[in-house]
């Protein structure tokens, strides 16, 4: 195993950093959801992550993501279960430390599952708008260190999240508001950007 590979401990620290960010800034997500949905998004994902924090464990990244998925799968609504699916499919990745190609492969599988079962594509103003560019960045990076690769993924995810302002929703609750929610960022996409950004600095 080289330093270039993401270990279970790294993955755990990454998810904890993501949980801290969401818990600290839940109001921001809630406010976005209040403008474009039903206002419970920040609360839902925050409470799932709070409960997940206690259970995060595993020797490799797959096991850690797997341990984080159950509390999302136990949540209602749409975004919670889709987060659970995403983490659950990451949990099907290699049972060892992850090289950058491992990381890219795991996110390819996980993001593909969310697109398929969530019936969402880029441009629909959902979490997929941040997931897909981040996954693409991992697949095409020239970097061989996970930290560098995830930094590129975070930039792509952020740009994807920002692009949801200006989109008219086709899926999720925001689709009922149509044009009225056009300028609002999608809270699901923003939380995906936060997820990749959380890997920086661990």
């Amino acid at each position: 195993m080289s330093d270039n590979e993401l270990t279970g401990a790294d993955a755990r620290a990454w998810l904890l950093a993501f949980a801290d960010r969401v818990v600290a800034d839940a109001d921001e997500l809630t406010e976005l959801d209040r403008q474009a949905g039903d206002g419970d998004f920040g609360w839902n994902i925050g409470s799932a992550l709070k409960r997940a924090r206690a259970n995060l464990d595993g020797d490799d990244p797959a096991a850690v993501f797997q341990s984080g998925s159950d509390t999302f799968l136990a949540s209602g609504g749409t975004s919670g279960p889709l987060f659970g699916l995403w983490f659950g499919r990451l949990g099907a990745g290699p049972s060892a430390s992850w090289s950058v190609p491992d990381l890219a492969g795991a996110f390819e599988t996980a993001t593909g599952a969310v697109r398929r079962l969530g019936k969402a594509e880029v441009g629909h103003k959902t979490m997929v708008d941040a997931m897909v560019p981040a996954t693409h960045a991992l697949a095409t990076t020239g970097s061989s260190h996970w930290r560098e690769a995830l930094r590129e993924a975070a930039v792509a995810a952020r740009a994807g999240a920002e692009s949801t302002s200006g989109m008219v929703a086709h899926r999720g609750r925001a689709s009922y508001l149509g044009e009225r929610a056009r300028e609002v960022l999608d809270p699901g996409a923003v939380s995906i950007a936060w997820f990749f950004e959380a890997a920086d600095g661990i």
């Binding site: 799968l73 136990a74 949540s75 659950g88 499919r89």
Partner: protein, 331 residues
């Protein structure tokens, strides 16, 4: 205080399931963490059949767990999908090595959570899905929307698939039979009074005296049209005729009719509705070969009824007639 009979709102569903076991402990068992219901004695060597969805439709689905029908039912909260975690736990519990067919009514939350659960078990379990979307009132040109709702035809699907699985049919055949029943079925519903929200005690909509809501669903939502209430004969005609046309039933065809109470419709009323269904079908030259009459897919205490027609084949008649022993259905 709400007129809905319960203790705390949070314990409504699990406490009702405790009661189900009091009445039918020989047939069903309740698992509490996470919540799902299985047969008391698990079946072996057969395809497993699983269904579920929001509560408030009792006896659906928990009342259909038992020999010849479901192996497990996964209840959500009132009118809310069960979680993917519940469905995954139930899928793991019932898989006897021959694979599992999930019967899912077409609602966004149900489809999402059942599909996620199956996806997460894809490496270790064979899981197939039958999507039930029989409600004619929600028929639309394909607009990329959610499609027709799933309602009372789900009983026919669970009965037929359950009988086939019990008889040893393989996974692909059980699924294909389920899809065939869906394709051969359509349902229309009417309500005279909306259902009561357990928390607020308020009805989900109000109807003027002498009016009825045509094309309602099973979640207290309004229908497609408010009409003048008519007597039973004309009302049943207005439900049955579109169904006959929709399922493509011709003179001489045989059908199953499910005359279903939506929660607060009396057995006397359903009896009249069943009689009128026979009369209307006779008039169209259609043979009513089998009838199921009673409150099977309810919408809390909605006062109304639904009629489902399923076009039958010889095989479907045999599977419908096969023995079944569940809390809500037994012959």
């Amino acid at each position: 205080m709400s007129r809905f009979f319960m203790n705390e709102r949070e314990t409504l569903v699990p406490q009702a399931l405790e009661g189900l076991v009091e009445a039918h402990g020989g047939l069903v068992e309740v698992h509490t963490d996470p919540l799902f219901v299985t047969r008391r004695t698990p079946a072996t060597g057969k395809v497993a059949l699983l269904s579920g969805g929001g509560s408030g439709h009792e006896p659906l689905h928990t009342g259909f767990v038992g020999t010849g029908m479901l192996d497990a039912a996964v209840p959500g909260d009132v009118f809310a999908s069960p979680t993917a975690l519940q469905v995954r736990a139930a899928l793991r519990a019932v898989d006897a090595g021959e694979g599992t067919v999930m019967v899912v009514k077409n609602y966004t939350g149900d489809v999402l959570n059942f599909s996620i659960a199956a996806e997460l078990l894809a490496e270790t379990h064979r899981v197939e899905q039958v999507l039930v979307d029989d409600d004619l009132a929600t028929q639309k040109e394909d607009d990329g929307g959610p499609g027709r709702r799933g309602t009372a035809a789900v009983v026919a699907v669970e009965k037929v698939c359950g009988a086939a699985a019990e008889a040893g049919a393989p996974l692909s055949e059980v699924r294909a039979l389920g899809q065939d029943v869906v394709a051969r079925s359509a349902t229309l519903s009417v309500a005279f009074e909306a259902c009561t929200n357990p928390m607020t005690g308020k009805r989900s909509f109000e109807l003027e005296p002498g009016r009825m809501e045509f094309g309602v669903g099973i979640h207290g939502e309004r229908g497609i049209e408010t009409r003048a209430a008519t007597e039973a004969a004309a009302l049943v005609e207005s439900l049955v005729d579109p169904l006959v046309a929709s399922v493509g039933i011709r003179r001489g065809d045989r059908v199953l009719a499910i005359v279903n109470g939506l929660g607060a419709t009396h057995g006397l009323e359903l009896g009249v509705a069943a009689r009128e269904t026979r009369r209307v079908l006779d008039g169209r030259g259609v043979t009513l070969a089998r009838s199921l009459v009673g409150p099977y897919v309810t919408s809390l205490d909605m006062k109304g009824l639904s009629i489902t027609l399923t076009a039958l084949t010889d095989d479907l008649v045999k599977l419908w007639d096969a023995p079944v022993r569940t809390p809500a259905l037994a012959w």
